[in-house]
């Protein structure tokens, strides 16, 4: 074994000399992103994980509307402008002229982007009789999750640069949905050409978009290569090449970042954060994520149908201890169901204080004595909850102090959600990561009366629901803000959730990287990034 150590040194040294002498410096400006996994494919309507969107929607495609990098503000994208009808039922989009498509070995575009591309991209997902609907597996999960099918009434081409979308009911957050990755616009001309060639799947494997980077090649589990698109409508990106070096393990990603083998890495290991802060070659960027972690009380079960019990149990939990122990500083206390980076966040809402004595009294007032209950803890790590089991133990100990005996329950992740949907729990830990930056996407989806049948709190408050429905009907953001602010007050008073935390997301980047911003929705956007 002595040989082994000597051998290790010798082989490493010889290979190092060979490698160093043979490696060549890159002439072009190449940005390397140590991504966390291989994408499922390159069509963001078919592949709906964050890893898929980073590899397809952001570099390759555009959407009718876009999120301004670093915010959830919706700004014009492939549509230069849009107007809503007074009844909120139809939206007319004026499309941008002179937008060029990428080209590859299968396809050279003969025309610019126009209304046909919009119709193709949406009809493929929406209409089951569309020739492309069943291609590449035909599972349009996000389109379904956002209830786009039931929402849409018609998509019409008025002329080459005008499209009108009619809805079945007024739905103000709809425009935010159009800025989401699944609503990326693909080329109808490319699709037609691949029908003629008899290789329809090619549109999903060899992507053609209008985005800042052209797809070059992909080697599963190794690399994705892109090059800057010279004719990009917002102007050519500042780097010439973009490479995703697929690196699954977060500690290894960090070593690669330190060694200068990549410039930006996502999802660092929390244990490495301190070292990153001290590293002079690395900037550790951070921002509150667009998420919320909570403990939901099953309002259909006794005694949780009594608001006093929910309030008392909320007051019995030491939130700061959870932030310190479970989040280790990478989380901020949550008092509303939406995170503070989101418009309409109501900072005037007062959170329940940690007050075991008051909690005990309130439980007494509600006639609850010797309560035996359960706390469901998720078996997985999520952005909004790094360690549900530990969190449940802290809550269990806090509740014991006010005479509530709780048992911790956990199931496999799929089973966990299935049983929660069936309402088997008394209280359960869960959370949410936003899709489109609209408050509706948190409050209506998680707490509206329609969701009450299937969600953790099984809570339906007519006043709260009325406010959300009113906010859906108007596209005036100032008015919507007022309605959501009021809804947050109603929510807090009725306490269907014990709101726990919004986690902070970290992105270590090397010092030579300029212009990179963390996106609240979690996407990685490189079109404005440059290297020193």
């Amino acid at each position: 074994m002595k040989f082994r150590i000597m051998g290790t040194v010798a082989v490493a040294a010889v290979a190092a000399v060979v490698g160093v002498t043979l490696s060549q410096p890159a002439a072009a400006k190449t940005l390397v992103f140590c991504s966390e996994g291989s994408p499922g494919g390159f069509n963001p309507s078919l592949h709906s994980a964050g890893t898929d969107f980073d590899a397809s929607a952001q570099p390759i495609y555009n959407r009718l509307a876009e999120f301004e990098p670093g915010t959830t503000k919706v700004v014009p994208g492939l549509a230069e402008s849009w107007t809503a009808s007074s009844d909120g039922l139809s939206y007319t989009f004026k499309l941008r002229k002179g937008v060029k498509w990428h080209s590859n070995k299968h396809f050279t575009p003969t025309r610019d982007f126009n209304a046909d591309d919009i119709l193709y991209s949406f009809n493929r997902q929406w209409k089951e009789d569309h020739p492309y609907h069943g291609v590449s597996g035909g599972k349009y999960l996000y389109f379904g999750w956002m209830d786009m099918g039931p929402a849409l009434n018609a998509i019409e081409k008025i002329d080459d640069y005008t499209v009108k979308i009619t809805l079945n009911a007024p739905d103000a957050p709809f425009v935010s949905n159009l800025a989401m990755d699944f609503a990326s616009i693909l080329s109808a001309e490319y699709a037609d050409k691949m029908v003629a060639a008899g290789t329809m799947e090619t549109v999903d494997t060899d992507p053609i978009g209008t985005g800042p980077f052209e797809f070059v090649s992909y080697k599963k589990d190794a690399f994705i290569r892109f090059k800057a698109f010279d004719a990009y409508w917002e102007g050519r990106p500042k780097v010439d090449k973009l490479v995703y070096a697929i690196t699954v393990d977060p500690s290894v990603r960090y070593q690669k970042l330190k060694a200068g083998e990549c410039h930006i890495m996502p999802y660092p290991n929390p244990a490495d954060l301190d070292a990153m802060k001290k590293d002079s070659n690395i900037n550790l960027l951070s921002q509150e994520g667009l998420n919320v972690g909570y403990l939901g009380f099953n309002a259909e079960k006794k005694p949780f149908d009594d608001v006093r019990v929910r309030q008392a149990l909320s007051m019995a939990i030491n939130k700061q201890a959870i932030l310190d122990v479970v989040f280790k500083g990478a989380g901020s206390a949550a008092k509303n169901p939406i995170p503070p980076t989101m418009w309409s966040y109501n900072d005037a809402v007062k959170d329940y204080p940690y007050d075991p004595a008051a909690a005990k009294k309130l439980l007494g007032d509600a006639g609850v004595k010797g309560l035996k209950t359960n706390i469901w803890a998720m078996p997985v790590q999520r952005p909004y909850n790094p360690n549900a089991r530990r969190m449940a133990e802290l809550i269990q100990a806090d509740w014991a102090k006010v005479g509530v005996e709780a048992e911790i329950v956990t199931y496999e992740w799929g089973e966990y959600r299935k049983r929660i949907r069936a309402g088997e729990h008394d209280t359960a830990l869960l959370g949410w990561t936003g899709d489109n930056g609209d408050p509706d996407n948190f409050m209506f989806v998680l707490l509206g009366c329609e969701a009450a049948k299937s969600n953790v709190a099984r809570w339906c408050n007519k006043e709260f629901d009325g406010l959300l429905r009113a906010a859906k009907k108007t596209s005036d953001q100032a008015e919507r803000t007022k309605l959501y602010e009021k809804a947050q007050l109603v929510f807090k008073a009725d306490a269907p959730w014990f709101t726990i935390a919004h986690s902070v997301q970290f992105r270590p980047v090397r010092k030579e990287v300029m212009g990179f911003k963390i996106h609240p929705l979690g996407s990685h956007i490189f079109k404005y990034v440059d290297l020193k």
Partner: protein, 336 residues
């Protein structure tokens, strides 16, 4: 010879069906289903759930699903990945050469160092060298791969800057896949420096993956040599006054090699198991990393197909090793 081969092949048939049944069964006794796994925190309606399950063919009785599955496998169709929608066999064949390349390099590393270390320990029996080598091999055998990999990365890549942290090739090179073996493809291509880069990237993962086989080979070589060294013909060779190098190299080692080759054959399974961890640490695009990723992302069909394909590889290697015994020692051919 043919009846020997026939017997070995006949044993493989029930093993193959057992493996497919286990791969099929294990995935299905897990709680939850792929549709629930795909939908995250979202609540999907029972109708949406049923429609998606039907699309995946998972709404039918289990025996029907298994029958279709086994029929497809016999026709070379291992199913389609839930995640990428590509045939599982294509994905496997794309990644398999990377695992084989790493495995071969790890084995070369293990043999080149393990064999001399074992011989040396046997020759210097009961000395400080022997105890040192055996002690170190015990350490190597017990080394947690994940920890060992990270340790080498931190030392050689981060601190000394001698080796790349992970991956299979520098992103500056783009080698057109011909055989899938990067060392060969980089020589076939015209990119200068690609071969060096590929070799450079192989160093640390080969050391990490080869460590356990190295320890085992060193120990086995030592014990095989010790056994042979006490034989009469070795004593005779010594008595003849032959030089020690001829005694150990020619007379003893040749006979000890039978045991050593057996051990090397058995290490193939160990290498495939070790590849799962090594490939994950070094972002090595092989089947070990692929199967782990498929498990984490609940790609049920990829896990199912991958397990069967890996089992088939191990069965094939075992068959080849069995055949080799037969060739080395013809007496085995006549035993049942």
């Amino acid at each position: 010879m043919f009846s020997f081969l026939f017997n070995r092949l006949a044993i493989l048939v029930p093993v193959f069906f057992g493996v497919t049944l286990m791969a099929f069964g294990f995935i299905r006794i897990l709680p939850g289903d792929p549709v629930v796994a795909l939908s995250g925190e979202r609540s999907i309606s029972p109708e949406q759930h049923a429609a998606l399950l039907a699309k995946l063919g998972m709404d039918r009785p289990l025996w029907e699903q298994y029958f279709e599955y086994i029929t497809n496998i016999l026709q070379g169709d291992f199913g389609t990945s839930l995640l990428t929608n590509r045939p599982i066999l294509d994905e496997f064949m794309e990644l398999f050469p990377a695992t084989v390349e790493l495995g071969i390099c790890a084995m070369i590393f293990a043999v080149v160092l393990g064999l001399p270390a074992g011989i040396f320990a046997a020759v210097k029996r009961r000395t400080f060298f022997d105890q040192g080598i055996m002690g170190l091999s015990l350490v190597g055998y017990s080394m947690p791969i994940f920890w060992w990999g990270l340790l080498l990365i931190i030392l050689f890549s981060s601190i000394l800057g001698l080796t790349p942290v992970s991956g299979r090739l520098s992103f500056m090179f783009e080698v057109e896949p011909v055989t899938g073996f990067l060392l060969i493809d980089s020589l076939l291509g015209d990119e200068e420096g690609a071969f060096g880069s590929a070799l450079h990237h192989l160093v640390l993962p080969s050391i990490v993956l080869g460590t356990i086989p190295l320890a085992i080979i060193a120990r086995q070589t030592r014990s095989a040599m010790l056994e042979v060294l006490s034989e009469d013909y070795v004593r005779t060779a010594r008595a003849k006054g032959l030089a020690p190098i001829r005694v150990y190299g020619l007379h003893a080692l040749r006979n000890a090699m039978i045991t050593v080759i057996t051990v090397i054959g058995l290490q193939v399974g160990v290498l495939l198991a070790g590849a799962i961890l090594t490939e994950t640490i070094f972002s090595w695009p092989g089947i070990g990393k692929w199967i782990i990723f498929s498990v984490f992302s609940r790609d049920y069909f990829a896990v199912q197909g991958g397990l069967v394909l890996i089992a088939m590889c191990i069965m094939t290697v075992n068959l080849i090793v069995d055949m080799m015994y037969g060739l080395i020692n013809p007496r085995i051919l006549h035993t049942r």
